[in-house]
């Protein structure tokens, strides 16, 4: 324990002098990087707009109330589309993620050296690209619309679902699988009677959790033309129809809260 002698009294210190210097140096480097980055950003900022922002915000808020409730009639279809994008996208993701997860898990993969790296690569590349970028790509490829959104959400979610699922598969209790093997089960029977029942709760939980995240993400896909309520948000903002914008924001808020509530309920029922 680092103790410093001062006259006759011993003073307890949290760190040794060397450790203290290391920590101090770490902070110095961190702060220097931060200040450097901040300077570069502030060079690209027009500070007049920033000082003007409170006035702008007050102005915008004033124009946003009251929300234009009659616009709700137009919004039901996009809300339905948004939910469909999230749900169908999650379904596609699950269908593809299950085989990928079985290939990526160390205890079920057909080959640790060839199949597993491919499966891990699929997981990483799907996870590292944002769903909005997937949507941007798909809109240029297959045209704007709900289909692009569904596929974008699906592609983005494969990695997430497969990653959590293969971790669940790797953590199963092997004794149960051994018991199934002892009865003379074939490999496919081992999977379906030894492994699947063990990961079923995790699987259901992951799907619902991802569905909840996807509802949130699908609300913005419309900004690049991939369907859903984002389309209305984009057009309302570009036509400066602020009363519609505030209604859309309220609708998004409500959708997200409801979906969070539903997913919490379902996960609670499963676990």
């Amino acid at each position: 324990m680092p103790v410093r002698q001062q006259a006759d009294t011993k003073i307890w210190k949290r760190r040794t002098t060397k450790a203290q210097f290391a920590v101090w140096f770490g902070w110095l480097v961190g702060v220097a990087i931060f200040v450097y980055c901040w300077r570069l950003i502030s060079e690209k900022t027009i500070w007049f707009f920033v000082t003007d922002a409170p006035k702008q915000a007050a102005d915008m808020a004033e124009r946003m109330v009251p929300p234009k409730w009659s616009y709700m009639e137009v919004l039901w279809a996009p809300v339905w589309d948004t939910i469909n994008i999230a749900t169908l996208g999650t379904m596609i993701a699950i269908v593809i993620a299950v085989p990928v997860a079985f290939c990526a898990a160390r205890n079920t993969t057909p080959s640790v050296h060839f199949v597993r790296p491919v499966a891990l690569f699929i997981i990483v590349s799907s996870r590292s690209i944002n769903s909005l970028i997937w949507a941007l790509m798909l809109v240029t490829l297959i045209g704007p619309g709900v289909l692009a959104g569904v596929i974008a959400i699906g592609l983005r979610s494969i990695g997430f679902c497969a990653k959590l699922l293969y971790e669940a598969i790797e953590e199963i209790d092997h004794n149960q699988v051994e018991a199934v093997i002892a009865t003379g089960a074939a490999r496919s029977q081992q999977l379906s009677f030894g492994i699947v029942p063990q990961i079923m709760p995790a699987f259901a939980g992951i799907s619902v959790f991802r569905w909840d995240i996807n509802i949130r993400e699908s609300t913005v896909l419309g900004l690049v033309g991939a369907g859903g309520i984002g389309l209305q948000l984009d057009s309302s903002i570009s036509t400066l129809a602020w009363t519609q914008v505030s209604l859309i924001l309220l609708v998004i808020l409500a959708t997200v809260i409801v979906s969070e509530w539903v997913s919490a309920k379902i996960r609670h029922a499963i676990i």
């Binding site: 961190g30 980055c37 950003i41 690209k44 589309d81 469909n84 970028i133 240029t140 297959i142």
Partner: protein, 267 residues
């Protein structure tokens, strides 16, 4: 004998025990799917047209064109990185008081409710929607993206910090209190050491998320690589787009790998 054996055949118990609920869910799912596919409008001609474009896009990855737009790619990536770093730092600094206030065992009831309210609001809206509004208020450029990411960070980090503080071991906190520590000393010597390892890990994880998000806030004008990517898609310059995507994937992989390493090292 054989008859008896077949009738006593074992059947695996269903995942959902209640039969009405099980069949109800199946029927409900079928109806929902029929409705969902029925209302989905797909322009199949346009999709078919996309097939050739898709081939061009895939072909653009071999090889991607890093050269012709390198200046704007470099600019965009650096801007994204600056935004990532500054927003993570500021977001975490701001989320500490909010997180402390939102921990039930630390804060008084009104403070607790107020801070929970802040966290709920900043978590509900995706960063990209926040970015739209900040672009409207503060003008185009990385400052708007920086603010959007910071607000997102407050929601994420503050909530997890509050939950971590609520889960901490009260015995250690009591021990520090019993030696006569002031409130700040109490925070510094009993709460902070308990939550620190996990929070450093989460901070790095958030850095990772912020980079991914900073790649898209540019689509709505918030600065960063997103604007460059959007332009290259709009001009059908797939080889430049492929290059940008590869750069993003590369940086994300480096961040993910190093964040995993740092988290193991901290814990």
């Amino acid at each position: 004998m054989t008859q008896n054996a077949t009738s006593r055949r074992w059947k695996r118990p269903p995942f959902i025990q209640n039969p009405t609920l099980r069949w109800g869910l199946w029927v409900g799912a079928a109806i929902y799917l029929a409705l969902a596919f029925g209302t989905m409008e797909v322009n199949w001609d346009r999709v078919a047209e996309g097939a050739t474009r898709g081939q061009r896009f895939v072909a653009a990855f071999f090889p991607p064109d890093f050269v012709s737009r390198w200046d704007s790619i470099q600019d965009g990536i650096l801007e994204s990185l600056w935004m990532t770093i500054t927003s993570t730092v500021i977001g975490i600094i701001l989320s500490v008081p909010v997180g402390l206030g939102a921990a039930r065992n630390l804060a008084y009831r009104p403070v607790y409710l107020f801070c929970r309210g802040i966290l709920a609001v900043s978590r509900t809206f995706p960063e990209i929607i926040l970015a739209i509004f900040f672009v409207k208020l503060f003008g185009f450029g990385p400052f708007a993206g920086f603010l959007a990411l910071s607000v997102g960070t407050i929601g994420f980090y503050g909530k997890l910090l509050a939950e971590d503080i609520e889960d901490m071991d009260p015995v250690q906190a009591e021990a520090i209190k019993s030696v006569g520590a002031g409130w700040l000393q109490w925070l510094n010597y009993s709460v902070q050491p308990q939550v620190m390892p996990r929070m450093i890990g989460l901070g790095i994880y958030r850095l990772d998320i912020n980079f991914r998000e900073s790649a898209v806030v540019g689509i709505v004008g918030g600065g960063g690589i997103g604007a460059t990517l959007l332009t290259s898609f709009d001009r059908y310059e797939f080889d430049s787009a492929a290059a940008i995507l590869l750069v993003i994937i590369g940086i994300v992989m480096v961040l993910e790998y190093s964040s995993g390493y740092i988290r193991r090292w901290v814990q």
